[in-house]
C-alpha cells in the first residue's frame, strides 16, 4: 500500500513548497499515475528490439533485469523478447549471489546482460532492495554479477 503514502505526502502543501513543486497550482491532485495519459496515449512503438540493436552498435551498455514474481511484465516475456535479438552468448546461464544466497540468474551476451532477481516483483528494488543494489553496483562497474 506504499503508493497511498506517497499520495498523502506529496499532496501536502508544506512538502510542495519545500520541493518548489506545483507552482502553477495544477487543477488536479498529485497522483502516482495519471488516468488521462494512460487512456489517451497516442503513439507506442510495437517493438524496442530494433532500438536495442542500434544502441548495441553505438556501444551503449545495456542491462535488462526481471523480478521473477511479477505477472504483469514477467520474466518469461522479457526472455522471449530478448531471445529474438539472437545475440551471441559470452557467459552462459549461471546463478548470481548476494549475501550468500542466489540473488537470481544471469546470462551475458555480446552487447547485453540479462539478470533475473529472485523473489522480486515488478518493482524490484521495493521487494528485493539488497539484491537490486548489488545488481546496480555490478551494472555501474560494467562487470558480470558475482558467481559467489
Amino acid at each position: 500500500c506504499t503508493e497511498t503514502y506517497a499520495e498523502r505526502y506529496y499532496n501536502r502543501l508544506d512538502v510542495q513548497k519545500a520541493m518548489h513543486a506545483n507552482i502553477t497550482r495544477i487543477p488536479y491532485r498529485w497522483t502516482a499515475c495519471s488516468d488521462v495519459l494512460i487512456k489517451t496515449w497516442n503513439d507506442s512503438e510495437l517493438s524496442m528490439l530494433p532500438t536495442y540493436r542500434m544502441l548495441i552498435k553505438a556501444g551503449i551498455r545495456i542491462w535488462v533485469f526481471s523480478g521473477d514474481t511479477d505477472s504483469v511484465v514477467p520474466v518469461t516475456a522479457t526472455r522471449f523478447s530478448l531471445s529474438h535479438l539472437n545475440l551471441k552468448t559470452k557467459i552462459r546461464w549461471y546463478p548470481w549471489y548476494s549475501a550468500g544466497q542466489v540473488g537470481g540468474w544471469s546470462e551475458v551476451y555480446e552487447g547485453l546482460t540479462f539478470a533475473s532477481v529472485r523473489g522480486a516483483g515488478h518493482e524490484v528494488p521495493l521487494f528485493q532492495p539488497r539484491r537490486a543494489f548489488r545488481m546496480f553496483v555490478s551494472f555501474l562497474a560494467g562487470k558480470p554479477l558475482p558467481k559467489s
Binding site: 506517497a6 518548489h20 511479477d70 518493482e123 528494488p125
Partner: protein, 262 residues
C-alpha cells in the same frame, strides 16, 4: 547558478538529517505550449558527488511518476512513513553509489504540467522522448557540473520504451553535436515492456507455468489473441478478462506471492 540555488531543497518535511544535497524544480521543454517537467535530484550520499555518475530514473505507466515509485519506494534515499507523516532512510538507496535524478515525464505526470491542456491528451512515445531530451539539455545547462559526467538511464515497466527511446535520441543528438556533453554510458531496464508480440506470448506462458490459469484458458488465449496486431479483438479481450476476473483471484499481479493491498 541562480536557478540552481533556487532549486536547492534545504530539507523535506519530516525528513531525517542527511549529508547529501537535494534539488528539485522545473525545466521548460516547450515555451510555446508552456510545458515543463518536474525533477528531483538527490546527490550521492557516500564520497564526493563530483566523482560519482549521474543516473536518470524513469517509471512507466505510461503516465506514472518516478517520484511516487522510483524515488519513494524503490531506489531513492527516503521511504515515506504510513499516512504520509514523514520520511525514513532507505538502507539500500542507489544514491550510495550515484547521483539520482528522478524525472516526472511526460507533462501531466505528477507535478509536471502543460499550460496547453490538450497536451495531456496528445502524449505518446515520440514527444515524450523529445521532451525528455529537451529536459536533459536544459537541466545540464543549470547543472553544468554534470556535463561530460558518466551518465546512465534506468527505469522499469513502460519505461522499457522511454529509456531506450531517450538513449536513441541522445546518441543521435551527440552525433549531430560538434561538442557533445551528454556522456551516455549505459541503460538499465527492469520488467521492461519490450516487444508487443513476444511480451504477450511470454506473459500468458508465465500465467500458465505459474498455475494462475487453467489449460483451457491458456489454449483459448493463444487461439483467440493475435498479438501481432496492436488492436485486441473482443474474443481475445473476453478470454483475457476471464483469466483475470475468474481464475487469478485477489492477488497483486505485480508480485504474485505477497499480500494484495486493500
Amino acid at each position: 547558478a541562480e536557478e540552481r540555488a533556487r532549486d536547492r531543497v534545504t530539507a523535506l518535511p519530516g525528513q531525517p538529517a542527511v549529508a547529501f544535497a537535494q534539488y528539485s524544480g522545473y525545466v521548460t521543454v516547450s515555451e510555446p505550449h508552456g510545458r515543463a517537467l518536474f525533477y528531483w535530484l538527490t546527490e550521492a550520499a557516500a564520497g564526493d558527488p563530483a566523482g560519482k555518475p549521474l543516473v536518470l530514473w524513469l517509471n512507466g505507466g505510461p503516465g506514472c511518476s518516478s517520484v511516487a515509485y522510483g524515488a519513494s519506494e524503490e531506489i531513492g534515499p527516503f521511504r515515506i512513513k504510513p499516512n504520509g507523516t514523514g520520511l525514513f532512510l532507505n538502507k539500500y538507496s542507489w544514491n550510495r553509489e550515484a547521483n539520482l535524478l528522478f524525472l516526472e515525464s511526460p507533462a501531466g505526470v505528477g507535478f509536471s504540467y502543460s499550460n496547453t491542456s490538450s497536451d495531456l491528451k496528445t502524449s505518446g512515445d515520440e514527444r515524450t522522448a523529445q521532451d525528455s531530451l529537451q529536459f536533459l539539455i536544459g537541466w545540464m545547462s543549470r547543472f553544468p557540473q554534470y556535463r561530460h559526467r558518466d551518465f546512465y538511464i534506468a527505469g522499469e515497466s513502460y519505461a522499457g520504451h522511454y529509456v531506450p527511446q531517450l538513449a536513441r535520441k541522445i546518441v543521435e543528438y551527440n552525433k549531430a553535436s560538434p561538442n557533445p556533453f551528454i556522456n551516455l554510458k549505459g541503460i538499465l531496464v527492469g520488467n521492461a515492456v519490450t516487444d508487443n508480440y513476444y511480451d504477450n506470448i511470454g506473459t500468458v506462458t508465465y500465467w500458465w507455468t505459474h498455475a494462475m490459469i487453467s489449460d483451457g484458458t491458456y489454449r483459448a488465449i493463444l487461439k483467440l489473441c493475435n498479438f501481432t496486431s496492436a488492436n485486441v479483438s473482443n474474443a481475445c479481450n473476453r478470454a483475457m478478462s476471464y483469466a483475470m476476473n475468474h481464475e487469478f483471484g485477489d492477488i497483486d499481479q505485480y508480485s504474485i506471492y505477497t499480500p494484495s493491498c486493500h
